[in-house]
């Protein structure tokens, strides 16, 4: 039974937001951090309390780096109960993640690589007016917490057209999300079935059937880990690449589809190999209902190295139930209209990958699926969309009689920021806020008050 009233809503709920803001914070001292946390808690909704259909127009999440938990005054024994990869942080794991060269932390633009990053406040809002109201409230809170410094912030904006989620390249998003036991969500065909909640939320059985590791229960229970990625999308470069490698608009669309594994409408090449099918792409009951081992073993439809095939190899990999992740996030930066020259402004995706075990889930995906050149024995390839590309690698598109090989693939994306956060449960937030208080309330009565 999931303790929905103790789990932050972002883990289980996708909100109908069109805008938002991420604020990255540093605490000068434990008291300042806890003062901020005590006030922000009132705005953080649990999965049980969140409302996405009624009058609610904004949704707030709070999470902390390991340094942030330390800055709040968490004791050494509790800090030591977190795994090494979280303690070290994303920047220190750059070599494992493939964040080298132009993706290296020294080039990140938002201060997230520094040890002084302690917390993030995530705001998703239904419209700009509500976002502005929340921003003013948070700014007001910060004036009451002089020891809390804003390292950076990022404004989020959906890109037109607004009737479906997509990135700046135009690829439809939110097509495949794991479904966990204990929720009312029903898995769409091909989405991998229902998974044990311990794959995503600490304190519950996972797919291994073994004992599951967890930090001290008063902090760990109902929590999770979030890997934050700020990924710039080079839209002008991407469009120029399509134009270079496709003579007609139809050929260009096919190239875009071959890089992703889906047409930009969302229709998978396995089910629509020759021609786009926008209706299929929008139909969640059909657009994931396929496999690879028998249907496309050689990658004639979906190239073996395509983004979709790397991020979910389906029946061509083992242990898939232990590799799934929840993704939340949004686009940022202004829309670059089709046909417009690149204006040099940064735009991209700022996403959170949520999982119970960073090294087994997120780091595996980055290290093996995204950046291992020998994935599927491709030899000299990385993920064409989010892999670390330095211009020396290639991309092979299987085709009879002779495959097509594109050499010198450019980097369509660049990592501009990133961090590992811990997403505490509601009770754990109260526990953290109460650290150092002589009259610190226990988590349970405080939790009761938030219902």
């Amino acid at each position: 039974m999931l303790e929905l009233d103790d789990i932050q809503h972002i883990l289980l709920t996708r909100t109908p937001a069109l805008t938002g803001r991420y604020v990255f914070l540093s605490f000068a001292d434990p008291f300042s951090g806890r003062t901020w946390l005590k006030e922000i808690i009132a705005t953080v909704r649990s999965a049980a309390a969140v409302d996405t259909t009624g009058d609610t127009s904004s949704w707030i999440t709070a999470a902390f780096t390991w340094n942030g938990l330390k800055a709040l005054g968490l004791d050494d024994a509790a800090l030591a109960s977190f795994p090494d990869e979280f303690r070290l942080g994303m920047a220190a794991r750059a070599a494992v993640l493939g964040d080298t060269g132009h993706n290296a932390p020294e080039h990140w633009v938002d201060g997230t690589a520094g040890d002084n990053l302690h917390a993030i406040a995530i705001l998703f809002a239904r419209d700009a007016g509500e976002r502005g109201r929340c921003e003013m409230e948070h700014d007001s809170l910060l004036t009451r917490c002089p020891g809390v410094q804003v390292i950076s912030s990022l404004e989020l904006e959906a890109t037109p057209p607004f009737d479906y989620a997509h990135d700046h390249f135009g690829y439809r998003d939110r097509l495949s999300q794991p479904v966990m036991e204990g929720t009312e969500d029903i898995p769409y065909p091909g989405c991998g079935g229902v998974l044990k909640p311990g794959e995503f939320i600490l304190g519950y059985p996972d797919e291994s059937g073994q004992d599951y590791p967890m930090p001290v229960p008063e902090i760990g229970r109902n929590g999770s880990y979030m890997a934050y990625r700020r990924l710039e999308e080079h839209v002008g470069l991407f469009r120029a690449f399509l134009a270079e490698h496709g003579e007609t608009p139809e050929e260009q669309e096919l190239i875009a589809a071959k890089l992703m594994g889906r047409w930009r409408s969302g229709a998978p090449l396995t089910l629509a190999p020759e021609k786009d099918d926008a209706e299929l792409g929008a139909d969640l009951n059909r657009c994931n209902d396929f496999n690879y081992a028998k249907e496309d073993p050689h990658g004639y439809a979906v190239p073996l190295g395509s983004h979709m095939r790397r991020m979910n190899p389906r029946d061509t990999a083992v242990n898939m139930k232990r590799r799934r992740m929840i993704r939340r996030g949004a686009t940022y930066g202004s829309h670059l209209a089709e046909g417009q020259p690149d204006d040099g402004k940064e735009r991209g995706i700022a996403a959170f990958i949520i999982c119970a075990n960073l090294i087994r889930q997120f780091e595996f995906a980055q290290n093996v699926w995204v950046n291992d050149k020998s994935f599927h024995e491709l030899g000299n390839e990385r993920d064409p969309i989010i892999g670390n590309q330095d211009g020396t690698l290639e991309y092979k598109i299987p085709k009879r009689p002779i495959r097509r090989k594109i050499t010198g693939l450019p980097a369509f994306t660049t990592v501009r920021g990133g961090a590992y956060f811990f997403l505490p449960g509601i009770g754990a937030l109260h526990h953290l806020a109460g650290l150092g208080d002589a009259s610190a309330a226990t988590a349970a009565p405080v939790l009761e008050a938030t219902k």
Binding site: D211, N319, R360, E363, N367, S374
Partner: protein, 201 residues
């Protein structure tokens, strides 16, 4: 990130793309790493790719009185592979060799494997396969093997690292070739043979 094509400054070996499929040897510094080409894996530094690709040689003392268990589980593996030939597929194996030998009346086990990928990449998958095939039980008869290995891949891989004895020279008659490439070449040969047979009609 260091790549397999980067030739370590300490090595006189020819670059991979020049010797792939041909004979080559690589002399490896003591300790198993080229100091200027250490790739970081999720569970620590990855031993360098050699003409054999990747692999390890684990040498560990067995628990007293368990020698027969090793022979019993060898039979288990034989049976498992006969029943499901690709049962070990996830390990990206070329060869495995298991050896028992005695030193000063104590018995040691050597597990030598040649793989197409570093063990670090598929550790968790390997743990699952080990549990499913009975290889795990062999390891459980080794002194110092962590009892919580099924839920603690970190401890499992640490045991492997602690008991791995890295090579200081490796040679291959056909260098840097993957098992899949070997099998693919044999399949092409078989198909051509069938074509030629059909041309006789």
């Amino acid at each position: 990130m260091a790549t397999a094509l980067d030739k370590p400054s300490e090595s006189n070996a020819l670059p991979i793309d020049e010797v792939k499929g041909r004979q080559s040897a690589v002399a490896i510094p003591d300790g198993g790493y080229f100091s200027d080409r250490v790739e970081q894996g999720r569970y620590g530094p990855i031993f360098p790719r050699t003409p054999l690709n990747y692999g390890f040689t684990i040498i560990a003392k067995i628990k007293p009185g368990t020698r027969e268990n090793f022979h019993a589980y060898a039979a288990n593996i034989e049976k498992a592979v006969a029943g499901v030939p690709d049962v070990l597929d996830v390990l990206k194996l070329h060869t495995l060799k298991w050896v028992l030998f005695d030193i000063n009346e104590e018995t040691y086990f050597m597990y030598q494997g040649v793989f197409d990928t570093d063990f670090d990449k598929y550790t968790e998958d390997a743990v699952g396969i080990f549990a499913a095939t009975g290889i795990n039980t062999v390891f459980e008869n080794l002194e110092g093997f962590p009892e919580d290995w099924k839920s603690n891949p970190q401890a499992f891989i640490q045991f492997v690292r602690d008991h791995h004895r890295p090579s200081f020279m490796e040679y291959a008659e056909y260098s840097y070739v993957t098992a899949k490439e070997v099998k693919s070449a044999l399949e092409v040969k078989r198909c051509f043979s069938t074509i030629l047979d059909n041309m006789q009609l």
